[in-house]
């Protein structure tokens, strides 16, 4: 059960000198605020799926886990205009700020899951009408997750109330799947949710040996070695050709813009989408789990001068020195996966994060789940910590590190002045399953701790 604490409308404590100074001024504001209370965020009149307005808040006397710096005991945070306005043991509180008593509570930055397809699929099996992850064909760089992400997916509320405030949602099909989006888990429209609408190009690095996993049954058919090797190379060559076309297209386009006497290139929406990625302005996410695929992706990205991110990374620890040398970050999704080989140590994936950390590789931890199970993200990080990752790094692995890898650390991932007010207020360690969340802010908006699951619980829990 989520617990809402009362007292949000108090304007401050008498002992607070800062508040004393503004109290007189504030009195009139309080009068206005009272009339506006019915529309204020956090009020039960909020409707599911309708974005609440931004508000001005102060969380007082809480333990503030900034992630980027030291923890602040008995600290306060001011939230205004969607941003963190002040953090510290003594802060200036704006007039009319709603005060939240943080005594005994901890404030964390919201968690970020960088490896989902949230909002693109509701029910994967038996309801294909709800599946929008995978476009027809192998090459769809112009297929954009932000277009199809469903703001009213039940998965969003379910993940959000566990303290996950942001996800990267990525398409999954073909060789070039499309473009992933980085969103706030709040908003009535994709536009309202978008933090980086087109955050990365997603490429499924060809699986050597083809076929891939999946299929059950007793016997894996014979593989022709030569075929297996060349099939992967062929697919890679197709990707290479498409990226080069994108590069050439960008050059032709720019040249024409400078000199209209040149032949005017036809607009090509597919190649157009590739331009920022082939120029290294935006990152390219390579799905790759096995060692050979990760090495291949790094080599390919270097050849094509891309800005690569490895997604998956089961074997990344085996490639750690190369990842470090090339400064290629990894979004680890496999921590709860079964070891890939029968003779792997039982904890090979539990401890892969610790190994990457020790090797100095940039990484973050993701559920890798399409959406429904993304709420288990803190448990992935916790398991990595049970097997060697420090608690501090486990927390960073689901907050600051994904923000850095996705180039949004100026806005997300830690509690610092000027960052987006995506905050979670808990009664304990954010990664511990027994912890409860008491307040949630996204984009400076106070979000009700309700979801499809709390609603069904409320409807049935007292049935006699």
């Amino acid at each position: 059960m989520k617990k809402e604490r009362g007292g949000e409308t108090e304007t401050g404590r008498l002992g607070d000198t800062v508040m004393m100074n503004v109290l007189k001024l504030a009195l009139t504001v309080v009068m206005l605020a009272a009339t506006a209370a019915a529309q204020q965020p956090g009020n039960p009149t909020n409707q599911q799926g309708v974005t609440p307005p931004r508000g001005t808040y102060v969380i007082r006397n809480a333990r503030i886990v900034t992630v980027s710096g030291a923890d602040i005991e008995n600290g306060s945070i001011v939230i205004r205009d969607g941003k963190i306005e002040a953090v510290g043991t003594s802060v200036n509180v704006p007039a009319g700020a709603q005060s939240i008593d943080g005594h005994g509570l901890s404030v964390y930055p919201g968690m970020i899951d960088a490896g989902t397809s949230m909002g693109l699929v509701e029910v994967p099996q038996g309801a294909s009408g709800t599946v929008d992850t995978s476009e027809v064909g192998e090459f769809n760089p112009n297929s954009r997750a932000i277009i199809a992400v469903n703001p009213h997916s039940a998965h969003i509320g379910v993940a959000r109330v566990e303290g996950i405030t942001n996800v990267v949602s990525a398409p999954t099909g073909g060789l070039i799947s499309g473009q992933a989006t980085l969103i706030n888990l709040l908003g009535t429209s994709p536009k309202e949710m978008a933090v980086v609408p087109n955050a990365a190009l997603v490429i499924n690095y060809p699986r050597l040996g083809g076929g891939g996993g999946g299929g059950f049954g007793g016997f894996q058919p014979q593989v022709n070695l030569a075929d297996a090797l060349t099939a992967g190379e062929r697919q890679l060559e197709q990707i290479r050709k498409m990226l080069r076309d994108g590069e050439a297209y960008g050059r032709a386009r720019d040249a024409y813009a400078k000199d209209s006497s040149l032949p005017r290139p036809d607009i090509n929406v597919v190649l157009e989408a590739l331009v920022p990625y082939v120029r290294g302005q935006q990152p390219v996410i390579f799905r790759a789990d096995r060692e050979a695929e990760i090495r291949g992706a790094i080599k390919f990205a270097e050849e094509m001068k891309l800005k690569p991110i490895i997604l998956g990374g089961d074997d990344a620890w085996k490639v750690a020195s190369l990842l470090k040398e090339k400064n290629v970050p990894v979004i680890l999704t496999g921590i709860f996966g079964l070891p890939g080989r029968e003779d792997d140590p039982y904890d090979v994936l539990y401890e892969s994060a610790a190994k990457l950390q020790q090797a100095g590789v940039r990484f973050c931890i993701s559920s890798g789940d399409p959406g429904a199970e993304a709420r288990n993200l803190p448990m992935y990080a916790g398991m990595a910590s049970a097997y060697g990752l420090s608690k501090a790094d486990a927390l960073k692995a689901v907050t600051l590190y994904p923000a850095q890898i996705m180039n949004v650390a100026d806005r997300l991932g830690s509690i610092e002045v000027g960052k987006m007010a995506n905050l979670v207020v808990t009664d304990g360690d954010l990664l511990e399953i027994r912890t409860h969340i008491h307040y949630l802010f996204i984009d400076g908006r106070k979000v009700q701790l309700t979801s499809r699951h709390t609603e069904l619980n409320d409807a049935f829990k007292d049935r006699k």
């Binding site: 994967p124 059950f216 060692e291 050979a292 029968e342 429904a372 027994r434 699951h453």
Partner: protein, 475 residues
């Protein structure tokens, strides 16, 4: 690439090695006595005991208390800052089954999981490393009435006969809903679907089977009565292996473990069981159990559910993580299961979720993976709690098992160690060396060209009701 190919070959080679070489986990000498000193003991039935010793003798728990004495040659383990809890019991598993679904008929009560056990399944070892000691191996969910279960202790490294849990209640798998309807199999022209195709047909299938079983039982009852009355030259009814287990269900000698999802099908089976006068021992998955908790409680059934899995198919879309707590408060004996080789390794966390969603107490949540599943399998007098006289099936954790930061140090079954982290770590260098040697061996060198040998994949990556494909749908 060479690595990949050699790996392919290596795996096929290793799988043919005798067990003693690949993975002999049991230490050479397991002493008859073990004393765990000064640990926090989660007894389950008698609270949490701080700074307490647990004495194991001849495979049983011989003492729980302070300052216990052991014999001179006993193995002594310092439990300071550690937690001891009963071995976790997973009430829904398909581990170590070489095949899961006999899917060709709607009623397959004549087939037994006991006949397809593979004791070398490495996922068993991975589950020991998660503190699991007993699992309920169920037939799959392709049929309204499926095959017979097997309850085993994970005595990894021992002969298969030693796995069998002595005295566990025999059970049978039932299943309702999408899997039984074969919902994921498309309707193709020219391909005859197996009956049933609807939840109506599922009810009718089970009804017909029990109608036959009741008649069959009557035939035997009359025959035995006649024999008892001194009848001569009587001809016994012809034995029917399909109906025999159902007669045992009618007589309360075999537990029904019924896979189900939605409220209506749960109520259907309760109504049918009441009508025929038998009990459902557990509803499995039972993700909408929270909607009909009072009916489940009134029938006296248990529930074995997922902590928080949902939305993976339509019949799981109304699943909520409060299910466990709501059913517990309704008076139902509830367990949290895995139905997955992966999830089985972290059932401690799955149980802790009931404290997060639904605010169960720590004791209630611990019971979800210990004494409650023991009750559901009829083994509660032997395992599921730490009490003198019970089997010494325990795990030592390096922190509270409900913390995400904790892991298992040592797992005991019947007083013997079947997993020990330090031992596991110390063997890794040798295994790596052995592997390197094998990779250089001639039979493992990849051919310069041509075909790789076919690789025998013994079993799917994960076992679960919903992921298993069953072969041979008859046209």
């Amino acid at each position: 690439m060479r690595r990949f190919i050699s790996r392919l070959l290596l795996i096929s080679f290793i799988s043919t090695l005798p067990l003693s070489i690949t993975r002999a986990q049991t230490p050479a000498a397991n002493p008859s006595e073990t004393l765990i000193r000064n640990a926090t003991v989660l007894t389950i039935t008698h609270g949490v005991l701080a700074n307490t010793d647990v004495l194991i003798r001849n495979g049983k728990i011989a003492g729980v208390g302070k300052g216990l004495k052991a014999s001179a040659d006993a193995r002594v383990i310092d439990g300071t800052n550690k937690y001891v809890m009963p071995g976790i019991i997973d009430c829904h598993s398909h581990s170590m089954l070489d095949t899961i679904n006999e899917g060709t008929l709607a009623v397959t009560s004549m087939v037994r999981t006991r006949d397809v056990l593979n004791p070398t399944d490495v996922d068993l070892y991975r589950q020991l490393a998660g503190g699991v000691t007993t699992v309920n191996l169920l037939h799959g969910s392709a049929n309204p009435i499926g095959g017979l279960n097997t309850v085993v202790k994970i005595k990894y490294g021992r002969p298969v006969d030693e796995f069998i849990f002595p005295g566990a209640m025999p059970g049978i798998k039932f299943a309702l809903g999408e899997n039984v309807k074969r919902s994921s199999n498309p309707n193709l022209p020219g391909v005859t679907r197996r009956y049933p195709n609807t939840r109506m047909g599922v009810e009718e299938t089970i009804r017909e089977a029990f109608t036959k079983a009741r008649d069959y039982k009557r035939g035997w009852d009359e025959y035995r009565a006649a024999v008892a009355n001194g009848g001569k030259n009587l001809i016994p009814p012809r034995r029917d292996l399909q109906l025999e287990p159902l007669v045992e269900v009618l007589e309360g000698k075999r537990y029904v473990h019924a896979h189900c999802y939605i409220a209506s099908e749960i109520l259907m089976l309760i109504g049918l069981a009441d009508e025929f006068g038998f009990k459902i021992k557990t509803f499995q998955h039972v993700l909408e159990g929270y909607k009909v908790a009072k009916e489940i409680a009134a029938h006296g059934a248990g529930a074995s559910t997922f902590a928080d899995s949902w939305a993976y198919k339509i019949e799981a879309y109304d699943a909520i993580p409060y299910n466990t707590a709501i059913m517990t408060r309704a008076g139902i004996v509830v367990s949290v299961n895995s139905d997955s080789d992966e999830r089985a390794r972290r059932l401690n966390i799955e149980a802790a979720k009931a404290m997060h969603w639904g605010d169960l107490t720590e004791e209630q949540a611990l019971k979800l993976i210990t004494i409650n599943p023991a009750i559901q399998l009829g083994i509660q007098d032997k395992v599921g709690s730490i009490e003198v006289g019970k089997d010494a099936d325990l795990a030592i954790w390096n922190g509270h098992p409900f913390s995400v930061y904790s892991r298992v140090d040592t797992t005991f079954i019947d007083g013997d160690i079947f997993f020990d982290r330090q031992q596991d770590l110390s063997r890794r260098a040798d295994l790596a060396k052995e592997r390197a040697t094998l990779e250089q061996a001639d039979p493992n060198k990849p051919p310069a060209q041509g075909q790789t040998p076919g690789v025998n994949r013994r079993r799917p990556r994960t076992h679960s009701d919903d992921e298993e494909v069953w072969e041979g749908e008859r046209p």
